[in-house]
C-alpha cells in the first residue's frame, strides 16, 4: 500500500513535470536568427522570454530619415541609446559641413555600442566627404552587413557606394549600386537622379 502511494506521487510528479516542459517548449520561437540583445546584466537578459521571430522584410515605402534619437524607446538599452544620440550628433555635424568633428563623434558612438549600424554609414559618408575613399568603402561594407534588414538604410548605403564608384570612374559598378539602392527603397531620389543623369553624362563626357 505504501509502495502504491509512492508510485502515485511519482506518476503525478512526472505528469506535472512533463506538462511544464511541454509548455515551455511551446513558447519557443520557430526561428532564432539574430535575436535582439540588450544591455542589462546577463542574469536579467537570460530571464527574459525569448525574442520574437525576426520580422519579414517590410514593405519599403516609408523613409526612415527622421532623427535617430526617435529610435530610442523606454526599453532601449542605455548604451544603445547613448550611441544613437552620438550618431545623431555626428550626423548633424556632418550636415553642417564639419566632417572631422563628425568622425570624432561617430567613432565615439561605435566605442559605446558597436552594434548601432548607422554610425558606420555616417562614418563612410564623412570619410567620403574628406575623400578618404578606401575608408569610406570599408565602413560601407560594415554598414551593409549590419543594415541588411533595413531597406531605407540599405538603399542609402548603396546610393553612397554608387556615388563613390562614380567618382572613381567605375560607371558600370556605380550604376549597379544605384539600382540596388532603388531595389531596396524605390523612393531614393539621389539614386534615381544619378541613374537618370548617367546616360547623359556618358553621352556628354
Amino acid at each position: 500500500m505504501r509502495d502504491q502511494r509512492w508510485l502515485s506521487v511519482v506518476v503525478i510528479g512526472l505528469t506535472l513535470s512533463g506538462c511544464a516542459q511541454a509548455a515551455a517548449r511551446h513558447q519557443r520561437p520557430r526561428t532564432a536568427q539574430a535575436p535582439s540583445k540588450d544591455d542589462r546584466p546577463v542574469e536579467v537578459a537570460r530571464a527574459r522570454p525569448p525574442a520574437p521571430p525576426a520580422p519579414a522584410r517590410p514593405a519599403a515605402t516609408r523613409a526612415d530619415d527622421g532623427p535617430l534619437t526617435a529610435k530610442i524607446a523606454p526599453a532601449t538599452p542605455a548604451g544603445r541609446s547613448a550611441a544613437l544620440r552620438l550618431t545623431e550628433e555626428g550626423r548633424q555635424r556632418l550636415a553642417a559641413g564639419d566632417a572631422p568633428r563628425a568622425i570624432d563623434l561617430l567613432e565615439r558612438a561605435i566605442a559605446v555600442d558597436a552594434r548601432v549600424p548607422y554610425a558606420y554609414y555616417f562614418l563612410a559618408k564623412a570619410h567620403a566627404e574628406l575623400h578618404h575613399t578606401t575608408l569610406a568603402h570599408r565602413f560601407l561594407d560594415r554598414a551593409d552587413q549590419k543594415l541588411a534588414h533595413e531597406p531605407y538604410w540599405r538603399s542609402q548605403v548603396n546610393a553612397l557606394r554608387g556615388q563613390l564608384l562614380a567618382d572613381e570612374g567605375k560607371s558600370a559598378a556605380a550604376e549597379a549600386a544605384y539600382r540596388r539602392a532603388l531595389d531596396a527603397w524605390p523612393g531614393n531620389r539621389a539614386a534615381a537622379e544619378a541613374l537618370t543623369a548617367a546616360p547623359q553624362r556618358d553621352k556628354n563626357p
Binding site: 542574469e43 541609446s81 544620440r85 572631422p100 570624432d104 565615439r108
Partner: protein, 790 residues
C-alpha cells in the same frame, strides 16, 4: 715741435686705433647680443615639451559613476569638491541624496572642438547616469566628457611644463602683482634701476645678509634666458649688457610678456612649472582670467622661492608671501586697502595636488616609438605637440594593480617562483583593446619599469600555447575553407596519434596524458584537449589552418609544421589581442591604435589617426568560435574566472606551453579584449598552467575594467542558428533526451533530424535563443531528474 705736443700726438696715434678697435669690437658684440636676443624674442622662445594625454572619458546614460571611477578621474584631473552649486570651472558637487552630480568642466583645448568649460548636471538613478543636461537651459548634453588626463611629457633634458600666454590673456592684476613683488618701478627705469640697487644695498647691509636683490625684471629675464646661477662679476656684467640691449630693442610689454611666461614657479615630480599660465592651472586649476586677487598675489609671491613658498608644502608661508604682495600692491595703488583686506581673508583653495598615480610608462614608450617614426626628435620635445592617445586612465590603474598584486600573490602561494635578483623576477604583461575601435585601453609591459623597460606586451615573442587553438577551430568551422568542415557538435577522437609529415612524426599529447575518446569539437576547445585539436587540424589540413591564421591577423609567415596548431610559434601579447579582437568584433579587423590625434601648440590638428576597419573573416564563423569560447569560460578551462566573480558575458582561452614556461589567458567581452602573459624573461618553467598563473590577473583586471558599464551580450550575426540539440548525438533534442544544450550552427549546418537515440516528440523546431542556456556538453538535467537523483 715741443716735446709735450709730440707726446700727445703720439698718444693719439696709439689710442685712436685702440679706441676704434674697441668701438668696432663693442659694435660687433652689440650686434651679437642683438642676434642672440632676437632668437629668444622673435623666434621660438621656449622648448615646449610634447605632451601625451589619455583618452577623454565619455559620459553617457547607463554608466555607473562610482563603478567607472568617475570620482577618481575627477580627483586625478584636479577637480575640487564643493558643498553647493559649483561656481567655477574645476568644481563638482554631489547631491547628498545621490540624485545628481554637478560638474563644472575645465576648459580644455581639444583639437577639433574647444571645451569652454561648461557646467553639466548628471542625473543619477541609484548611482547610474540617467540623463546629462545643462542645468541652466535644461537642454540635453550628448557629448559630455571628462577631459583627457596628462600622461607624460616628451622632453630633451629638462621637463619644462609651460602654457604660453600672450599679454592680451594676462589680466592687469597679475601684472600689478608681479611688479609689486619684484620690480615696482619697471615702467619707470631702464635696464637697471639705480634706486632699486641702492635700496637693496642699504637693506642688505642693515640685515648683514642678502635679503633683497636689485635686479630689474629685464635683468632677471636675461639671467633666466641665457645665463647660469653662478655669482660672478663676469656673469653680472653680461646680464647687464644684455638687459641694456633688450631695453633698447624691445618694448616694456614685450619684455614683460616674456618674463611672465619664463619664470619658474614650482615643481611637480620631474616636471617644472614655468610661467604664470601654467602655474594658474597647477595651483588653482584655473585660467589666469579666473584667478581671484588673493590667488594672483600668491602666484606673484612664489617667484622668489617657488618651492620653499609652495602652498602645497607650506601653506602658511605661501599665505605670508601672498599677504606681503597684497600689501605692496596696496602701497603702490594697484588695489585699495579694502581689496587687500578682502583678498587676505580669502581661504586658500588649491587644486588637489595630484601625484602621478598612473603614467603608464610602457605605454608611453610605445607611443614615443610610434611617433618617432613620423616626427623628428626636436618636434616631439620642443614644439609643444599635444598627443592624444586611446588609453583609459582608470583601466590603466586597474591593469597595473592586477599585474602587481597578481604576481605577488603567485609568489606567495608558490614560493618557488620567487627570485632574489630583481631582473630575474617573475614577469607579466597585460594589454587591453577595444575590439570595435582597436583602441588600446590599458597596457602593462612588465612588473616594474624602473627595473626593466623591456615592453613584454609589444616586444616579448613567446609561444602562445593553446591560445592559438581558436584559429584551428575557425579553420574547421569555416565551410569556405573547403571540406571537411566541422560544427561545434562534430565528434572527434581524443586519443594519442602520430601526425606524420615530411618523413617525420609529431605526437601531440594531452595534459597529464589523459584522453577522453570521442568528444565534440566544442568539448575539445572548452577543455583544451590537445590530441582532439590536433586531430581536427590534421583533418582540415595545415594549409587551411595557416590561411585562417593569416586572415585573423596572426603575424606570419607561419611555418608549415603541425606543432603550430598547439601554438608552437612565437608571438606577442599585442598580436594575440589583434587576433582575438577579430573574433570579438565578428570578423572585423581594426589595427591596434595608441595615438588617435596629434595637435600643434596652437591646437590645430596635425594628424588624426582615424578608426580603420576591414572585414577579414566571416562574422558567422567568428561567432561560432566565440560561442564555444563562452563555454570555455563558463565551464571549461577558464571557469575559475566565474568562481572568482567575473559575471559578464565573456569568451576566453587559456594557454600553457609544453615546458610550462609561458602562461596565458586571452579573453574578451563584446567591448574589451584582454590578453595576459606570465613567465620569466629567461625561459624557465613556472610549473603552472595559464588558468593558474594568468587567469587570476585577467579576472581581477576585467572585474574592475568593466565595472559600472552597461553589460551586453555577444550579438548573434546573420547566418547563425541556435538550436537545442542532444549533445550525445547532435540531433535535434526530443522530449526523451536526458540532456539538451543550445548550440550555434551555421544555417546550412543546423541539424534537421531528431535525436536518433532518444525517440519522442520533438522539442519544437529544435531552435533556441541565447536567452536560453548556452551550449555545453554539461548535462542540463531536468529538475525532476535531479530531485529523484537520477
Amino acid at each position: 715741435m715741443p716735446i709735450g705736443r709730440s707726446r700727445r700726438a703720439l698718444g693719439l696715434l696709439v689710442l685712436a686705433p685702440v679706441a676704434l678697435g674697441a668701438l668696432v669690437w663693442g659694435g660687433m658684440h652689440y650686434r651679437g647680443l642683438e642676434r642672440t636676443l632676437a632668437a629668444k624674442f622673435e623666434g621660438r622662445s621656449w622648448a615646449v615639451p610634447g605632451r601625451i594625454y589619455t583618452a577623454a572619458f565619455a559620459l553617457y546614460p547607463g554608466l555607473e559613476v562610482a563603478g567607472t571611477g568617475v570620482f577618481e578621474r575627477l580627483r586625478r584631473l584636479g577637480y575640487r569638491e564643493v558643498a553647493g552649486v559649483p561656481a567655477g570651472r574645476g568644481e563638482f558637487h554631489r547631491d547628498p541624496r545621490g540624485g545628481f552630480l554637478d560638474v563644472h568642466l575645465h576648459e580644455f583645448r581639444y583639437p577639433l572642438h574647444p571645451e569652454e568649460g561648461r557646467s553639466i548636471r548628471i542625473a543619477l538613478d541609484h548611482g547610474v547616469v540617467s540623463r546629462i543636461f545643462d542645468p541652466a537651459s535644461n537642454d540635453d548634453v550628448f557629448d559630455a566628457a571628462l577631459e583627457p588626463e596628462p600622461l607624460a611629457g616628451l622632453y630633451d633634458e629638462v621637463w619644462e611644463e609651460r602654457h604660453v600666454v600672450g599679454m592680451d590673456q594676462i589680466p592687469a592684476r597679475m601684472v600689478q602683482a608681479v611688479l609689486a613683488a619684484e620690480d615696482s618701478r619697471f615702467f619707470a627705469h631702464g635696464a637697471i634701476d639705480l634706486r632699486g640697487i641702492a635700496r637693496a644695498l642699504v637693506r642688505n647691509v642693515a640685515a648683514r645678509r642678502v635679503v633683497e636683490g636689485g635686479s630689474t625684471l629685464t635683468q632677471q629675464l636675461m639671467k633666466n634666458f641665457f645665463l647660469s646661477e653662478e655669482r660672478t662679476w663676469r656673469r653680472k656684467a653680461r646680464e647687464l649688457a644684455m638687459a641694456i640691449v633688450a631695453e633698447q630693442r624691445y618694448t616694456k610689454e614685450q619684455i614683460l610678456e616674456r618674463y611672465l611666461n619664463e619664470i619658474y614657479l614650482g615643481q611637480s615630480g620631474a616636471k617644472g612649472i614655468f610661467g604664470v599660465g601654467e602655474a594658474a592651472q597647477f595651483y588653482f586649476g584655473k585660467q589666469l582670467a579666473d584667478l581671484t586677487t588673493g590667488e594672483t598675489a600668491l602666484l606673484a609671491g612664489l617667484i622668489r622661492a617657488p618651492n620653499a613658498n609652495s602652498p602645497f608644502r607650506s601653506p602658511m608661508r605661501a599665505q605670508g608671501r601672498r599677504d606681503a604682495v597684497l600689501a605692496a600692491m596696496a602701497e603702490h595703488g594697484a588695489i585699495t586697502a579694502e581689496e587687500a583686506e578682502a583678498a587676505r581673508a580669502e581661504p586658500l583653495q588649491l587644486r588637489p595636488y595630484v601625484t602621478d598615480r598612473t603614467n603608464a610608462p610602457y605605454f608611453v614608450d610605445a607611443v614615443r616609438r610610434q611617433l618617432q617614426a613620423s616626427y623628428p626628435p626636436a618636434a616631439l620635445t620642443a614644439e609643444g605637440l599635444r598627443i592624444f592617445t586611446s588609453l583609459d586612465g582608470e583601466m590603466q590603474v586597474a591593469a597595473e594593480t592586477a599585474v602587481r598584486e597578481g604576481l605577488a600573490e603567485l609568489e606567495r602561494v608558490y614560493p618557488k617562483l620567487r627570485r632574489d635578483e630583481p631582473e630575474e623576477q617573475l614577469e607579466a604583461a597585460l594589454v587591453a583593446v577595444h575590439p570595435a575601435t582597436g583602441e588600446i585601453k590599458a597596457m602593462v609591459g612588465g612588473r616594474d619599469y624602473r627595473i626593466t623597460q623591456f615592453n613584454r606586451a609589444t616586444d616579448a615573442a613567446r609561444q602562445p600555447g593553446s591560445v592559438f587553438k581558436p584559429v584551428v577551430f575557425y579553420a574547421a568551422f569555416d565551410p569556405e575553407g573547403g571540406e571537411p568542415h566541422f560544427t561545434p557538435m562534430t565528434r572527434v577522437e581524443d586519443a594519442a596519434f602520430a601526425w606524420t609529415y615530411e618523413g617525420r612524426s609529431w605526437t601531440p599529447g594531452n595534459y597529464k596524458d589523459r584522453y577522453r575518446g570521442a568528444v565534440t569539437a566544442r568539448t575539445a576547445l572548452e577543455q583544451s584537449l590537445n590530441a582532439a585539436t590536433a586531430r581536427i587540424a590534421f583533418d582540415v589540413g595545415l594549409p587551411r589552418v595557416i590561411a585562417a591564421a593569416e586572415k585573423l591577423g596572426f603575424p606570419g609567415p607561419l611555418p608549415a609544421l603541425p606543432s603550430i596548431v598547439l601554438g608552437g610559434v612565437e608571438t606577442t601579447p599585442l598580436a594575440v589581442a589583434e587576433v582575438y579582437a577579430v573574433l570579438a568584433s565578428q570578423g572585423q579587423r581594426t589595427s591596434p591604435r595608441a595615438v588617435t590625434q596629434v595637435a600643434d601648440e596652437q591646437d590645430q590638428l596635425i594628424e588624426g589617426r582615424p578608426l580603420d576597419i576591414t572585414s577579414v573573416v566571416s562574422p558567422a564563423v567568428a561567432y561560432l568560435v566565440t560561442h564555444v569560447l563562452e563555454g570555455a569560460i563558463d565551464h571549461g578551462t577558464g571557469s575559475a574566472a566565474r568562481t572568482q566573480g567575473f559575471r559578464l558575458p565573456a569568451a576566453g582561452k587559456t594557454g600553457t606551453t609544453n615546458d610550462y614556461g609561458d602562461a596565458w589567458y586571452a579573453g574578451y567581452t563584446p567591448d574589451l579584449v584582454t590578453i595576459v602573459w606570465v613567465g620569466f624573461d629567461r625561459r624557465q618553467s613556472l610549473g603552472l598552467s595559464g588558468a593558474q598563473a594568468a587567469l587570476p590577473i585577467w579576472t581581477a583586471f576585467m572585474k574592475r575594467a568593466t565595472a559600472g558599464r552597461p553589460a551586453r551580450d555577444f550579438e548573434v550575426p546573420e547566418g547563425v542558428v541556435l538550436a537545442t540539440v542532444d549533445p550525445e548525438t547532435g540531433g535535434r533534442a526530443t522530449a526523451s533526451c536526458p540532456t539538451t544544450v543550445v548550440e550555434a550552427f551555421l544555417e546550412a549546418d543546423a541539424p534537421t533530424n531528431d535525436c536518433p537515440r532518444h525517440e519522442g516528440p520533438a522539442l519544437g523546431s529544435g531552435e533556441a535563443t541565447r536567452s536560453e542556456r548556452k551550449g555545453s556538453d554539461q548535462p542540463a538535467t531536468s529538475w525532476w531528474r535531479r530531485w529523484l537523483g537520477r
